[in-house]
Subunit: 201 residues, 2 copies
């Protein structure tokens, strides 16, 4: 019985992972459930043993991506070996590397689904909004630490700077995904980190 | 004969406008051609008298949106009654008003299609990339004027500042579309215009 439950959980995890991969390539609407099943060699129709609907599947995908991603962000934004500003830069350099390793494709699933689904599904929108709020808070805490140590500009509140950083990054990745070069990211790195650095009096 | 051609052109324009409205609500993949035709009371199957494919339809939609939007942007960014920085602000306030009038829905079709289609259609991606490049240049020219008059910061090149402004705006609208409040736009207005303003020495 325990094995059966574990087996079911494993299959569910595998479905979520396959869903993440395909949804990141194609978006929500273009992701076919049969394609997800086929990628795991599972029979047609078995999807509904695990999820009630495509929407519920996407909801769990968002939670899964958020859990993995939040852990990665936290590890970087609390790295005691670096100063707060260095941590923010490390995060962006990591994001750049990931994005370039995918040939300027895909981007961030949370951003992609926000753009595609915020007007289509209130269930998904609410989940995406709460993920975004959490991210803003994670970045705001790191920025606050940098403001306290005098490394990061106090021109605006930690929340305002965190929102600016996150939104600029999201728009930059969208731009780079469209032009398929890293030029927008280069501009971002230069402008954003000059901006965040505390200015000498 | 002339009337027939004019009639065909009118129908094509009506199809494009209906396509813009529906694609802005639902995205490319979720836009059904039958729905576009039905909104104009046109019979099923008549679409292919006007466009070879859905992709070609979207391509012409992008061109149409770009033409209208570029005219609006140019009118604002060259307004002789305002300084360059005021013009940039007027543009953003206009965009905010449009977005709020749609209850924080839809956003910008160019941004939405970039996110959704850049990895799906090379034809659409190339068109979207050229629209973006054009926009960056329009904003860069206005910023350059403001730098020359001493109103806008010379911390970075006009192109870098234009990209930052456009990308931050795109990411901000995406964020606001997800949380369905204007808070991210308020942050943007405060932070971005403080940033763009030339600092006293």
């Amino acid at each position: 019985m325990a094995t059966k439950t574990a087996g079911k959980q494993d299959t569910k995890s595998a479905l979520l992972q396959a869903g993440i991969d395909i949804m990141l390539q194609k978006g929500y609407s273009n992701t076919g459930l049969q394609e997800v099943l086929a990628s795991l060699g599972m029979p047609k129709g078995s999807f509904y043993h695990y999820f009630q609907s495509k929407e519920e599947f996407a909801l769990e995908i968002i939670r899964q991506v958020d859990a993995e991603y939040s852990a990665t962000i936290l590890r970087m934004l609390r790295n005691p070996q670096e100063t707060p500003l260095q941590r923010l830069k490390s995060y962006c350099l990591w994001g750049e590397k990931e994005f370039l390793s995918q040939d300027c494709r895909k981007g961030c699933l949370i951003g992609n689904l926000s753009q595609e689904m915020s007007d289509q599904s209130e269930v998904l929108r609410k989940e995406l909004a709460s993920v975004m709020e959490k991210r803003v808070n994670l970045f705001a805490r790191c920025i606050e630490e940098g403001q306290e140590s005098g490394e990061i500009t106090k021109s605006h509140t930690p929340k305002q700077l965190a929102e600016t950083l996150i939104n600029t990054w999201g728009g930059t990745i969208m731009h780079a995904k469209t032009v398929k070069t890293k030029d927008p990211i280069d501009s971002f790195m230069t402008v954003m980190f000059d901006f965040l650095k505390a200015k000498p009096h």
